[in-house]
């Protein structure tokens, strides 16, 4: 269980680092780890007397300031008022395209997933989209997605939004919008660059020396295990409970 907690803590702390410098991050439904990462960033900024961070957790009442209904997140994003958001995918390809619809021939897919949600829109409009997918396997990270819910790069239209990084259970990749692909930034111990090659179905750039993803420091961990889990319990009670029990 504590290995599971360590795994989650490194993801949460990495997300907080990826969000550094933003003013407003929104988090979609069913995303406890991204929500915890956003809360960790906010708490850290507050602790260090740095500029405040707004967070909008969909499905939360306490950590969501929207008052104009379901449309407000999308309007906010259209105006450039949302700096960061999280998207996942049943499939993600090497060009950063994501598939939330299903595998095989549309519509009677081999595997059908829930649907595209707001991805086709938000990917265009939110500057720092963090792709977050815990399962790191060749069935998720494919050379080409079967259905493009949202495309990463569209030279035919101007856009401010797109992928910034890809975080998985095993590694962190940067996305290069000029090159249109991913580059391995770091691996989470005990994984090695060879594990990443073996479990990634798309091509990506790999530096000669691949760093280890840094472990959260003591101060970060005490914030995370205290204040953050308390805040998170409102929207994700089961997740917060499991994390506390592992302590």
């Amino acid at each position: 269980m504590s290995a599971e907690r360590d795994r989650r803590e490194i993801l949460i702390a990495t997300i907080a680092d990826l969000l550094d410098g933003i003013r407003h991050v929104a988090v979609g439904a069913s995303s406890p780890i991204p929500a915890a990462g956003a809360m960790l960033l906010r708490a850290r900024q507050q602790r260090d007397g740095k500029p405040p961070v707004r967070i909008s957790i969909l499905g939360s009442q306490a950590h969501n300031f929207f008052t104009n209904g379901g449309i407000e997140l999308f309007d906010c994003a259209a105006q450039g008022r949302v700096d960061a958001f999280f998207l996942g995918g049943g499939q993600i390809d090497g060009e950063g395209n994501i598939n939330l619809v299903g595998t095989g021939d549309y519509p009677t897919s081999g595997v059908r997933w829930p649907g595209s949600f707001g991805s086709a829109y938000l990917y265009h409009l939110v500057p720092r989209v963090i792709l977050f997918r815990e399962e790191h396997s060749p069935r998720v990270f494919v050379p080409k997605v079967d259905f493009v819910s949202a495309r990463a790069i569209t030279p035919e239209v101007p856009r401010r939004g797109g992928p910034h990084a890809l975080l998985t259970n095993m590694a962190l990749f940067d996305f290069d919008r000029e090159a249109g692909g991913f580059a391995l930034r770091s691996v989470h111990p005990p994984f090695t660059p060879a594990d990443i090659r073996e479990n990634t179905g798309f091509a990506y750039a790999e530096p000669e020396v691949v760093r280890e993803t840094p472990q959260p420091d003591t101060a970060t961990l005490s914030l995370l295990r205290g204040k953050i889990l308390d805040e998170l319990a409102e929207t994700y009670p089961a997740f917060a409970r499991t994390m506390k029990q592992a302590a």
């Binding site: 209904g69 897919s109 059908r112 595209s116 086709a120 493009v148 035919e156």
Partner: protein, 272 residues
């Protein structure tokens, strides 16, 4: 004038073959009314999820009440995939119109404003444009020269949702859940179930009026206590997670779904 009727009478205001717009889980979903609709044998609905759905859509799909489905996603959230939706897509049990959340809001907004379409940012590059021939990419006719997606107006025959309270004139308190107003503005008729009818006038003060959908947009109201169960109703009760998980398990098979549906319908009758 807004009529206040019994739940069964409200359910008769939806007829087979109509388009029905429903809100996202947790926003105020009329589950008791959904049971009443299924009890009445509703068929061939054109369901429009604003902008996604979960248990409600899955129940309607499983019961064979849906002819077509427009949605950005169907999911039971923490309880996982929506089993009857997933199975129905594979067998082609209904016509599927995959969307993306803001496109559904944009379609409703076009209807609200009485115009045939609404431009919307983003989307270009998505395969949704291939499977939605009713969406078009145009050169913007005004302003900055660029491509823009336009989506047709969505004007549902009926909107159906659940809220905590209405007053005797038919004004409905929706709090900050403005998406419920978006539904009502765009729909030809709006049916609302509420936990209770209150004697005070909800439009009396600025404080209360700000969170109210005026009766002008509300055709029919019925009282349904715990009418969103097992889903949450904001400020009133949380979701019954155990019940939703029970559904998620049972609905994996068609037989399991039938058994769940039967107890769900009889449970609703006992409450009524």
């Amino acid at each position: 004038m807004t009529e206040i009727v019994a739940l069964e009478a409200l359910a008769t205001r939806v007829t087979s073959g109509q388009s029905l717009a429903i809100p996202v889980d947790g926003s105020g979903v009329a589950m008791a009314a959904t049971a009443a609709l299924l009890e009445a044998g509703i068929r061939d609905l054109k369901l429009i999820c604003v902008p996604i759905s979960g248990l409600q859509a899955d129940l309607l799909i499983g019961a064979g009440a849906i002819a077509s489905l427009e949605t950005s996603a169907v999911s039971l959230g923490e309880a996982g995939a929506a089993p009857r939706f997933t199975a129905g897509v594979k067998t082609g049990a209904f016509a599927l119109r995959d969307s993306t959340c803001p496109a559904i809001f944009a379609g409703l907004l076009a209807a609200q404003k009485g115009v045939p379409f609404m431009p919307i940012a983003g989307i270009i590059g998505s395969d949704l444009l291939n499977v939605r021939p009713d969406w078009q990419v145009i050169d913007s006719p005004v302003g900055e020269a660029r491509k823009v997606v336009v989506v047709p107006a969505i004007s549902p025959d009926v909107a159906l949702f659940h809220a905590p309270e209405a007053d005797r004139a038919g004004n409905v308190r929706i709090g900050r859940h403005r998406e419920l107003a978006d539904l009502a503005y765009a729909s030809k008729r709006t049916l609302v179930t509420v936990e209770r009818i209150v004697d005070r006038n909800l439009l009396e003060s600025e404080d209360s009026a700000a969170g109210v959908l005026p009766s002008l947009y509300v055709d029919t109201i019925a009282v349904a206590a715990r009418g969103a169960w097992p889903l949450a109703l904001w400020d009133e009760y949380p979701a019954d997670e155990a019940e939703i998980a029970r559904y998620a398990g049972m609905a994996r098979s068609d037989e399991g779904f039938r058994a769940y549906l039967s107890t769900f319908l009889s449970h609703r009758k006992q409450v009524a």
